[in-house]
């Protein structure tokens, strides 16, 4: 079992009346009305500090991500964050998980192939190459990608990136969306033919089918907790079986908000305001910015109209207690958190737990406290899961040897 620190880099000091002023965390909030560049400079640095702290505490990987024009997370270029993390963790047994740069909105996509290859070289072969298709609002509104083309652009771009990483000759790419006459990438990643590939998906699109077909790792980045993801994971594992793939849990990653305290009561008290801040202010995005016509292929669209369990939930009506009781956030004493996580991990068969140990308005001191307690009291009980029977084929090779990979690069 691998447990990785995930961070969104949100705006931590939104005004109390943000919900009344804006109906969306995306697109609508005006920078000069609610944000401050000096503060944001502090957030970026705090985010890096918190992630590096998690690496030192023993988490197995550090996950960055790309979002635009919103208050809930704005690592607009995750490679910039990843570069700092790669450099600062050299010598440590920790993966740099870019989850990651969005291919459909980057032209040409070889730009991402280069950035990822740089990160793999700087980190000494510790990169996990994540390729999200991008949230609809990010890809289509912020970056102008044509909704109905988002997925086909993604697939073509990924094929181009993989070829560019390992091709032995200069080649021409005459694609539908990308045409490059002479591709000969510098640098190439240390990990050949390519670093492990992780692909996030929502579970109702055709992405899961594609990921299993390509034998990559599928990441279900839900904010609604393992308790509410059983239908998606069941469908995923059925798909895995149908496609003749093995039941290796490492082909499935899952994100979970987690808050650990000394006792259940203390934890609930500590994290309540930050959970409400996350779900009321940061995550609130209306349907018209999410369900953009064309972002779901036709079959997935029909499926989503048939069954969308979250459609009827108004997040802003839920109090912290509801968020905890429903399992959106796993909160409690180390024992409570261990038990709830173990239940979810086994039920969903997840090999990589992506722990959102910072969420909402959480200050750095509380985040580090959360990381400390989690790493000391929870992580040791999870880490040995699965390893007696399964190999993590979606993890950097040099980190499997339990030796600091980058020492190789640093020593030479």
């Amino acid at each position: 079992m691998k447990v990785c620190m995930f961070h969104l880099m949100p705006y931590r000091d939104l005004p109390a009346d943000f919900e009344r002023r804006y109906n969306s965390a995306y697109i609508d909030p005006m920078w000069f009305d609610v944000a401050d560049s000096d503060k944001v400079g502090q957030y970026y640095n705090a985010t890096l500090d918190e992630m590096l702290y998690a690496a030192k505490a023993g988490l197995h990987g550090l996950c960055t991500n790309q979002h635009h024009q919103n208050v809930y997370g704005f690592m607009a270029n995750p490679s910039i964050m990843g570069a700092v993390l790669a450099r600062q963790t050299n010598g440590q047994n920790v993966a740099i998980i870019q989850l990651g740069s969005t291919l459909p909105s980057t032209t040409p996509p070889t730009r991402i192939a280069e950035e990822y290859a740089m990160l793999d070289c700087v980190s000494g072969g510790r990169l996990v190459a994540g390729f999200p298709t991008g949230l609809p609002a990010d890809a289509t509104i912020s970056n102008g990608v044509i909704p109905v083309e988002q997925r086909e652009r993604f697939r073509e771009a990924l094929a181009l990136v993989i070829k560019a990483w390992s091709a032995r000759d200069v080649f021409a790419w005459n694609g539908r969306h990308y045409q490059l006459g002479m591709v000969n990438l510098w640098p190439r990643p240390i990990q050949q033919p390519h670093p492990p590939i992780w692909i996030p998906g929502s579970g109702i699109s055709s992405t899961a089918e594609y990921v299993v077909g390509q034998d990559h790792c599928f990441c279900h980045l839900s904010y609604y907790g393992a308790k509410n993801a059983e239908q998606v994971s069941d469908r995923y594992w059925e798909l895995v079986a149908r496609k003749g793939r093995d039941d290796n849990p490492y082909r499935f990653s899952f994100l979970q908000l987690i808050g650990v305290g000394e006792t259940d009561a203390e934890a609930e008290d500590l994290y309540a305001e930050h959970a409400e801040y996350f779900f009321h202010k940061l995550l609130y995005t209306p349907t018209y910015y999410q369900a953009i016509p064309g972002c779901l292929e036709y079959e997935a669209l029909v499926q989503s109209l048939r069954h969308n369990p979250r459609a009827s939930i108004n997040l802003r009506e839920l109090k912290a207690k509801d968020l905890f009781d429903r399992g959106f956030v796993v909160v409690g004493s180390p024992k409570t958190v261990r038990e709830q996580l173990l239940d979810g991990i086994k039920r969903l068969r997840m090999g990589h737990l992506l722990a959102l140990l910072h969420f909402g308005s959480m200050p750095t001191a509380l985040c580090k406290n959360n990381i400390d307690l989690f790493a000391r009291e929870v992580l040791p009980y999870l880490a040995d899961l699965w390893d007696d029977r399964y190999e993590d084929r979606w993890w950097p090779e040099r980190l499997k040897a339990k030796r600091p990979a980058a020492a190789l690069a640093a020593a030479s």
């Binding site: 102008g144 909704p147 953009i292 016509p293 064309g294 029909v302």
Partner: protein, 266 residues
């Protein structure tokens, strides 16, 4: 009104299956629907069929059972060449062409690319031009609160109610909603995120007498655009429709049918 004949054509090296609804008799007229599909326009089309043979093709991807047809066309050039093939297959020679909204832009671009292929041209609240001082709303990402009054002069009126109505039967409801959303996805491919793909550079090629119809309460693309189109097309005139929004042919069908038929010489 008599049900139209539904002709199913296989085009574009068999990668696009499309239905064409054919009704009426008389001189040929092609009707190109807007971003929300053909379904809501059928009553208006029937009105035109009183004195024309109306051909109403469904936009690629919006024919039942063939949603992926939208992926067979990459760009406007493909789209125009495709419609050339469609007109040829229907054995149409310089028909009148009437288009609404996105379909209006399609009609105008087709007329500009092949000036002798269109007899008379009617553009109903077409998109395709852009002014920074009067930005066109992206109809694909509007909240319900904004969308209804943008599309209709009377947001609570009968036309608006019919337009957004969904069947009570669950399966039919899903099918109706899916078609409504997917039709926007298919047309949106060619105008996302801004419906200005260079028509202003092509407009001078239009040789057809052209009628521009506009709802005075259009909240998607302001009526001021009627003159923007008119001044770029050599032989064009404008008819403004009072108490109508972006879909004047649904909100004031009798008036729009009357001015269109008068223009076409019905």
């Amino acid at each position: 009104m008599a049900a139209p004949e539904v002709r199913r054509l296989s085009l574009w090296q068999d990668r696009i299956q499309t239905e064409v609804e054919i009704s009426g008799c008389g001189r040929p007229l092609v009707y190109l629907h807007g971003p929300w599909g053909l379904a809501s326009d059928r009553a208006f089309v029937a009105g035109l069929a009183d004195d024309h043979t109306v051909y109403a093709p469904k936009f690629p991807g919006t024919t039942h059972g063939n949603p992926d047809a939208v992926h067979a066309l990459d760009n406007w050039f493909d789209l125009i060449v495709y419609h050339g093939e469609l007109f040829d297959r229907l054995e149409l020679s310089a028909p009148a062409v009437v288009g609404h909204s996105f379909g209006g832009l399609l009609a105008a671009e087709f007329a500009a690319s092949a000036p002798k292929s269109v007899g008379r041209l009617v553009l109903i609240d077409p998109v395709g031009l852009w002014r920074d001082d009067a930005p066109v709303k992206n109809w694909m990402i509007l909240s319900d609160k904004v969308r209804r009054p943008s599309l209709f002069a009377d947001a609570d009126g009968e036309a608006a109610r019919r337009f957004f109505d969904v069947p009570s039967d669950p399966a039919e409801r899903i099918d109706t909603l899916a078609q409504f959303i997917w039709a926007q996805a298919c047309s949106g491919k060619f105008v996302w995120p801004i419906a200005d793909r260079g028509f202003s550079r092509h407009a001078h090629r239009i040789a057809s007498p052209t009628l521009i119809v506009w709802g005075t309460a259009d909240g998607i693309i302001a009526p001021t655009y009627a003159q923007e189109f008119a001044r770029r097309i050599a032989d064009a005139r404008v008819e403004l429709i009072e108490q109508a929004g972006h879909l004047p042919h649904l909100e004031r069908p009798e008036t729009v049918t009357k001015v269109v038929r008068a223009f076409l010489g019905g």
